[in-house]
């Protein structure tokens, strides 16, 4: 019963969050200076012509009316039509999602395991020189702007060494199919994934290392030690298992940013993902598209939070439903 209540309350909270995020975004966008109609009309347009464009897209109506009709449409699952692509916003977004996920998911998973592995290696000698060195190196990596790192990788591997392609997702000249297409995409995605993964490794490393170090001095470790268990068995059987939750949580929370987190790297690598779609939508004042992307990203972030909370209550029974 308690569980059901909790789930209900948490879901209501989720909806409320998304709803407010939506309204905030709508207002920010629609109250902004600038007229999408004038942009759509082009430079040599007459005033009469601009007015016609405005009317076509319903931009001549007052903002509250637009807000209400937008909300009603969203409730029916209709995100509207993009001004610039003349296509339904949901189709446009749906097309970009897998493209972005390829980068973000892969890199997050790689970063998670690399970070965890490094943490396991160094935390067993916590506070040793190696551990401190790795920790500080990680902090430094954490300080690198992703776009700059990408740019430098392009400079080294794309331009100087010519090992990797510098942009795009496929080689258009010989667009293969089947396995070749997959290989081609994989090849093009290596540099952006490396960039994204590098930036994220420190996040997982840090949380995993700190947790392991913290767990290694927990009371149960000395209990088992005094019970005659070897340090390595304690580490494998107990410390590691106890240390998994925080990194997994961080990973899950990061999943909330799978759609929006790679925008800068997408720009650097010419990757046709969500980030670039948003940028082009902002620059062409494609209001429905901007709104749609915001809605989808807000939902993913909220959902990730939601699932983390739910998972927590399932995985770690210490957590009570609050």
């Amino acid at each position: 019963m308690e569980w059901k209540d909790y789930l209900l309350r948490r879901s209501a909270q989720l909806l409320l969050t998304v709803f407010f995020a939506l309204i905030i975004n709508f207002l920010i966008i629609n109250l902004a200076p600038g007229d999408p109609a004038a942009l759509m009309a082009g430079e040599l347009a007459t005033k009469e012509y601009i007015e016609a464009v405005r009317e076509r897209w319903g931009l001549n109506k007052p903002i509250p009316e637009r807000l209400v009709s937008y909300l009603l449409n969203v409730l029916q699952g209709n995100l509207g039509y993009s001004y610039t692509y003349l296509q339904s916003v949901s189709t446009l977004i749906a097309e970009r999602i897998p493209v972005t996920l390829l980068l973000t998911l892969t890199s997050s998973i790689i970063a998670f395991f690399v970070g965890l592995l490094l943490a396991v290696k160094t935390s067993q000698k916590a506070f040793s020189k190696v551990d401190l060195f790795v920790s500080n190196v990680m902090l430094t990596i954490y300080s690198i702007p992703s776009f700059w790192l990408g740019l430098m990788l392009i400079g080294i591997f794309g331009v100087a060494l010519r090992i990797f392609p510098t942009s795009g997702m496929v080689n258009v000249r010989s667009t293969g199919s089947g396995v070749f297409l997959i290989l081609d995409i994989a090849y093009h995605s290596i540099l952006p994934i490396v960039t994204l993964a590098t930036i994220q490794v420190p996040i997982y490393y840090k949380i995993a290392r700190n947790t392991i170090v913290e767990q290694s001095s927990e009371d149960y470790v000395s209990t088992f030690l005094m019970a005659g268990m070897s340090t390595s068995s304690i580490f494998k059987k107990y410390v590691l298992r106890n240390s998994l939750l925080p990194p997994v949580t961080v990973f899950a929370l990061h999943l909330g940013y799978v759609l929006s987190g790679a925008a800068l790297v997408e720009v650097v690598f010419g990757w046709p993902g969500m980030g670039r779609l948003l940028l082009s939508a902002v620059y062409s004042r494609d209001y429905p598209l901007i709104m749609g992307i915001y809605l989808v990203t807000s939902i993913t972030v909220s959902l990730a939070n939601f699932f983390v909370d739910i998972l927590y209550t399932l995985l770690d029974p210490r957590v009570r439903y609050k």
């Binding site: 920790s135 500080n136 702007p145 948003l278 902002v282 915001y294």
Partner: protein
């Protein structure tokens, strides 16, 4: 160790203690010294014998040399001088944003924590909502369409990153307000305002301190990201913007994008090293362990 005998409530003494413990963290110390260098540059750059960072009088695309240690950019500006001047922009955006974020965060957090009840519920919900809005996209949108002066950038970053501060402060206030000295203040009839601003907030500052330093670091990165998308303030020298314009010339003139990037890494890393050391020191776990031994 003798410190215990002295007053625990002496504000400055607390920070001296903090420093004494901080000194033992090598990474933090390195970060601190690096940061002193950056601050020094930012403060005294007008008095250094440098070229005018805005002057376009030199030849464009000069590679690094003795007279231009970092070369010149596409318009013939001295990059060395621009990198040094850029520290001012980055630091002011970083600290400005962190300040805004701290002020808003402390206000919201302490109100929620102290008043409690319905107000706490409401404010916590607002904090949650703000935490779940993808900040970078929001900042990007606002700066793109509303304008990109650095004050604006500061304000927008600050106003979108305050919830994490608010959370920490709220938790801090919640635990502090049950303490005897606050109870004593209530008994002697101090006003809520006084209790909040004279007693509670100053005593919950330390944990925010570490968080704020990390926020400065992330604000600097955010500003660089915005400038990299061409959304920086054109009237100041900004590292992100330099990388943005250097992107166009990465094939022939790598130095244009390279040096400002290094500057960002150094500055942000120094802050992260300090912040990380502080977080370690200030976390209750560490304190416990220290007492145990």
């Amino acid at each position: 160790m003798k410190s215990k005998l002295k007053s625990d409530n002496n504000f400055f003494y607390k920070y001296l203690l903090l420093w004494n413990r901080f000194k033992n963290y090598k990474g933090g110390l390195i970060g601190f010294y690096l940061f002193l260098v950056v601050i020094f540059i930012a403060l005294f750059v007008p008095f250094l014998p440098l070229c005018d960072p805005y002057s376009i009088k030199f030849q464009s695309f000069l590679p690094p040399s003795f007279s231009h240690p970092f070369g010149t950019d596409e318009m013939g500006r001295d990059i060395f001088s621009r990198v040094l001047w850029g520290s001012r922009t980055s630091l002011s955006v970083g600290f400005g944003a962190a300040l805004v974020s701290s002020i808003v965060g402390v206000l919201f957090g302490s109100l929620a924590g102290y008043v409690g009840g319905k107000l706490d519920e409401l404010l916590s919900r607002i904090i949650d909502i703000f935490l779940m809005i993808p900040a970078f996209f929001l900042i990007l949108l606002i700066v793109a369409i509303y304008g990109s002066s650095i004050y604006y950038v500061m304000l927008v970053i600050g106003l979108t990153t305050w919830p994490s501060t608010a959370r920490i402060v709220r938790a801090q206030i919640l635990s502090l307000k049950e303490r005897e000295f606050i109870y004593a203040q209530k008994v002697i009839g101090s006003s809520t305002f006084r209790i909040l601003f004279v007693h509670l907030i100053p005593n919950s500052i330390q944990p925010i301190f570490a968080n704020s330093i990390l926020q400065v670091a992330s604000a600097i990165l955010l500003e660089a990201g915005l400038s990299f998308l061409g959304l920086g303030d054109p009237n100041v020298v900004s590292w992100g913007k330099m990388i943005y314009s250097g992107t166009s010339y990465i094939f022939t003139s790598w130095w244009i994008a390279f040096f400002p990037g290094i500057a960002i890494v150094v500055t942000v890393a120094s802050l992260n090293l300090i912040g990380d050391a502080l977080v370690t020191i200030l976390s209750p776990k560490t304190e416990e362990r220290g007492a145990y031994a």
